[in-house]
């Protein structure tokens, strides 16, 4: 038992060994940026916090009442030198941090396409970005790949070393789209589109989650993010298209079938709602995302082509959906 106690100080290290600390071991340049800012701030702030804590304990010990040898100046309460120091030093530190703040907020802005120099560093400057439309539903995630014409639920497959342009909305309450190891999260809100730009560097499976409480099914509103090398991603897309996967849905995703998948699970008071399974759709209506946003805005949506507000033509869309469902069967 005594020997075990000797290990006690090393306990935190033991508990961390073999684990991934997601935010400190990111898998992409955005996550690295988040981490670098965090670590930088921590390092700079520690330069003040540690001496302050030591000084607190030291002064408390040195000037304890029983230590009559220590100097006692019962009326000393002002010193210009000390005042200059205690105002000047924090201002200097915060001024430096503010510089980093300005730079990093602009450089890593989630709305900004990944900066050129970052892409060069990631050897992705000539790769065409992949657009993914994300819809938060109670309590699952829908991912639409408009360029590929496919969609998935609760699994996000992405090619590595490729800029990811994510457009995010919600078809229910507000929540937040977050893949800790890729970095920055952004809210999903109904009737609105938010944007996020990420990049996965290495192949692997990453955890994705809803980061804003959204109701009883919130704890299971998770998704797997699978980063695949370019070629493997292409063959995955083919697999989804031809419906050969075990997760394949037998029907396409369009305005007619969507409500069935968007319906929240039954909520009972005594248990958590059942988590949603992974589903692949070999065919997805290309403007479904715009329809989901337009639903909350009297049929209006901002065009992705020219940024102008336009009306989603419900009638035409439902016709198109009907025809595509014919071919899908």
């Amino acid at each position: 038992m005594k020997r075990l106690w000797r290990l006690f100080p090393a306990l935190p290290a033991l508990m961390l060994s073999g684990c991934t600390v997601d935010l400190l071991q990111p898998d992409g340049p955005i996550g690295e940026g988040n981490r670098d800012m965090m670590v930088l701030e921590f390092a700079i702030m520690m330069c003040v916090v540690v001496p302050t804590c030591i000084a607190t304990l030291f002064f408390a010990w040195k000037y304890r009442a029983s230590n009559t040898k220590a100097e006692y100046r019962p009326n000393w309460s002002h010193s210009n030198a000390v005042e200059v120091f205690i105002w000047g030093m924090p201002i200097a530190i915060i001024a430096v941090l503010s510089g980093f703040n300005y730079w990093s907020t602009h450089y890593y802005d989630p709305y900004r396409s990944l900066p050129k120099d970052m892409l060069v560093r990631e050897h992705a400057e000539n790769t065409k970005p992949l657009t993914i439309e994300v819809v938060a539903i109670d309590w699952k995630w829908l991912f639409i790949y408009p360029e590929q014409g496919i969609a998935t639920i609760n699994e996000l497959d992405v090619p590595t070393k490729t800029p990811l342009n994510l457009h995010i909305t919600s078809d229910s309450v507000m929540t937040s789209f977050f893949i800790p190891q890729l970095g920055s999260q952004i809210y999903s809100m109904a009737g609105m589109e938010t944007q996020l730009h990420l990049l996965a560097r290495n192949p692997g499976v990453l955890r994705g989650e809803a980061a804003q409480y959204s109701g009883p099914g919130f704890s299971d509103m998770k998704f797997k993010t699978i980063a695949l090398p370019q070629e493997q991603f292409q063959s995955w897309v083919e697999n989804v298209r031809n419906g050969s996967s075990q997760f394949a849905s037998h029907e396409p995703l369009n305005l007619q079938t969507y409500p069935k998948y968007a319906k929240p699970p039954v909520v009972r008071e005594s248990v958590a709602p059942t988590p949603s399974p992974v589903i692949y759709f070999g065919e997805a209506q290309s403007d479904l995302f715009q329809h989901i946003i337009a639903k909350y805005n009297n049929g209006m949506v901002r065009s992705i082509n020219n940024g102008k507000i336009m009306r989603m033509d419900m009638h035409a869309a439902s016709n198109g959906a009907a025809s595509s469902s014919d071919t899908g069967m």
Binding site: M38, I86, P216
Partner: protein
């Protein structure tokens, strides 16, 4: 007839709630029986419930805060034990339906009914004594404010046994708090509990603003006000600026829920972003409202127990002013992840970082107050050393999250939860408890036992780190807040450590309860060495409240003091007390009033009826409040004079006690 209220609204099939109800009922009946047995009903009614005396109201506020602390802590205990269990397929013992109410109630109770009530209690007791006033500007209003806060607290606790409480967090973010997603009464309980107590807080703000501006003792200039009064004054200014915003925001949410409007709904032109901006432009100043008075408490205590004046009084006043100003300019840092432009995020990020400057200055001020002093580690002083270390760490993590690029991954994580508990427990809670230990002898005339207080501090200090350092770590491992269960093996060991921490904290809470029970025992036995004979219990008090007897006579000051500078009482001790030139005069005081509790009862009827849509009862409640206000306005018999003989007898007894104490030394 009873609106939405039916028998099935009572959760008699949930074992935990039934158990809690039985527990509460047994304790309640025991208390009522004890009051009846000792024939204290008349005393309680005449001396306490109908009082307009700021000191008694202060005590009642703090009693309410402590009871609510126990409730809020029970919620915290359930959350930590749930998360220690609910790993890898084990659902734990709280399904989301209950768990979500538990974390919502925990936040709402701890902020509105623990911290705010505690703070208002300290305002009530301390401010008039520190500025040499005999009461607050509007004593009856003060009683009404208390009952508003009490009604809010009662509503929130009633929701435990009748219906349900909100399940959407302590700020009730829409659209999930809208009728579409939340048709039950939980959010309505939240709305009316917050709304009613918010009115109480706003009235308190008006009252104390007027008191500090108009009722300072003759000669007390602004820059001679004690620091606690100063920081409280800033907090009160913020209350006046921001609580109306809260009232309006919650009112808009209730219009959505009650009248089908669309301020914050998904459709119909509603905007959740509007709610987030509104609620946080109250919510962020709110945390500075809570922390500034705590800074004041630390300043008083640091000076008293170091045997020195506070280092940099002026700096402290200006720094508090800067915090007040900046505190109103940082609210967007609560949602850097909402998609605002980079310039907006940068502005609010840098503003947030700059709050660290005046706050850091304050830490150094307390540090240099100890420097070259004679620091005595009696009860209150322990909390301040613990505070300075804990708060420095909490401040550091706060600055980390002020950088949007870092916040985009830390937002909504348990890192954030750990951060704000770090500053609220380490700052606000430590401060208020230190304040309670510090002023307790002034309130009741006898001390709290130091040994219990020290053990409480040790448990809180150690328990805090055990509970919250693991949360920082799982936050870095990507764990978000408000999860009910999880299957990540990396998180589990840390959540077990946090669970051990909450047990240590429970021992700390038990020590505090024990300390209060011992104080009652000491009082009943009239224990000699617990008595505060001189009124200057710590021997080194510097401000006016230590110049008068403990417990304080109901008129506070026999003669209004004349202020001769900062730390008047200290100056008087150094230079000798001036012999009073003017003779005692009858003292004009307000009469107690039954209308405070009457308004409270009708307000409760109104709130409860609104929750359950019992419209006739809501109308009765409103009419009752209105009638009470009319009666009060027409009542001219609201004051009386304290006869000179009574004051003189008190003064002579006090003089005797002081000379006896001096002879004993």
């Amino acid at each position: 007839m009873l609106g939405k209220l039916t028998l099935s609204s009572i959760p008699y099939d949930v074992p935990i709630l039934v158990g809690t109800f039985i527990g509460v009922a047994v304790i309640g009946i025991a208390v009522l029986a004890a009051i009846t047995y000792f024939r204290k009903w008349g005393y309680l009614w005449r001396e306490w419930l109908t009082t307009v005396d700021h000191k008694k109201l202060g005590v009642m506020y703090i009693v309410l805060a402590i009871v609510m602390l126990l409730r809020g802590f029970a919620d915290a205990f359930m959350m930590r034990t749930q998360l220690a269990l609910s790993y890898a397929g084990n659902p734990g013992y709280l399904p989301p339906h209950h768990y979500d109410q538990v974390f919502s109630a925990h936040g709402t109770i701890m902020i509105f009914f623990m911290a705010m009530a505690f703070m208002t209690g300290l305002f009530n007791f301390v401010i008039p004594l520190q500025i040499g006033a005999r009461d607050v500007a509007f004593p009856f209003l003060n009683s009404v404010s208390f009952y508003m806060t009490l009604v809010g607290a009662v509503l929130i606790n009633v929701s435990l046994f009748i219906g349900e409480f909100s399940n959407v967090g302590w700020l009730g973010y829409p659209p999930i708090s809208e009728l579409q997603f939340n048709p039950g009464v939980g959010v309505d309980y939240y709305i009316w509990a917050v709304q009613i107590s918010g009115v109480g807080t706003l009235l308190t703000g008006v009252n104390f603003f007027t008191t500090i501006v108009k009722m300072r003792a003759p000669g007390m200039k602004w820059m001679q006000m004690p620091v606690f009064t100063w920081t409280s004054f800033y907090a009160i200014v913020m209350i006046l600026l921001t609580f109306p915003v809260l009232t309006v925001t919650i009112a808009l949410l209730s219009l959505d829920r009650y009248l089908g409007m669309h301020f914050f709904t998904n459709d119909g032109g509603g905007s959740v972003m509007l709610y987030l901006n509104l609620i946080w432009s109250w919510g962020h100043p709110e945390v500075y409202i809570l922390i500034l008075p705590a800074f004041g408490v630390f300043s008083e205590i640091a000076a008293t127990f170091s045997g020195k004046p506070l280092f940099g009084y002026k700096t402290m006043v200006y720094a508090s002013g800067v915090i007040t100003l900046l505190g109103c300019l940082v609210w967007v840092h609560h949602f850097f992840t909402m998609g605002a432009g980079a310039d907006v995020n940068t502005f609010f990020g840098i503003m947030t970082m700059f709050i660290a400057v005046p706050t850091g200055v304050k830490i150094f001020n307390w540090l240099f107050t100890m420097y070259k002093g004679r620091v005595r580690f009696e009860g209150p002083m322990n909390w301040i050393v613990g505070f300075m270390i804990t708060f420095s760490i909490g401040g550091m993590t706060g600055v980390m999250m002020a950088m949007p690029a870092a916040d985009w991954v830390l937002h909504n994580s348990l890192f954030l939860v750990a951060h704000f508990h770090n500053v609220i427990i380490g700052g606000v809670f430590f401060g208020y408890i230190a304040g309670m230990n510090y002023w307790f002898p002034k309130v009741f005339g006898y001390k709290l036992r130091d040994s219990w207080g020290k053990w409480a501090f040790r448990c809180w200090f150690v328990g805090f780190y055990l509970s919250f350092i693991p949360l920082y770590i799982v936050g870095l491992e990507g764990m978000t807040r408000r999860l009910n269960h999880y299957d990540n093996p990396n998180w589990h060991p840390w959540l077990l450590v946090a669970c051990v921490g909450v047990f240590v904290l429970a021992v700390g809470v038990a020590c505090q309860v024990g300390q209060l029970i011992c104080a009652i025992i000491d009082a009943v036995h009239q224990k000699r060495d617990a008595l505060d004979a001189t009124g200057d219990n710590w021997g080194s008090g510097r401000t006016l409240e230590w110049s008068i007897p403990s417990p304080v006579p109901h008129y506070n000051f026999a003669r209004l003091p004349t202020v001769r500078g900062l730390d008047t009482f200290h100056i008087e001790k150094e230079l000798g007390r001036p012999t009073p030139v003017e003779s005692l005069k009858p003292i004009h005081m307000p009469k107690y009033s039954v209308l405070g509790p009457v308004i409270g009862v009708f307000t409760f009827l109104f709130g409860f009826a609104m929750v359950w849509h019992i419209w006739w009862m809501a109308i009765i409640g409103l009419l009752g409040v209105f009638a009470a206000m009319v009666i009060r306005s027409a009542d001219l018999d609201i004051d009386f004079y304290v006869p000179v003989e009574e004051v003189r007898a008190d003064e002579e007894a006090f003089a005797k006690r002081i000379s006896a104490a001096q002879a004993a030394e």
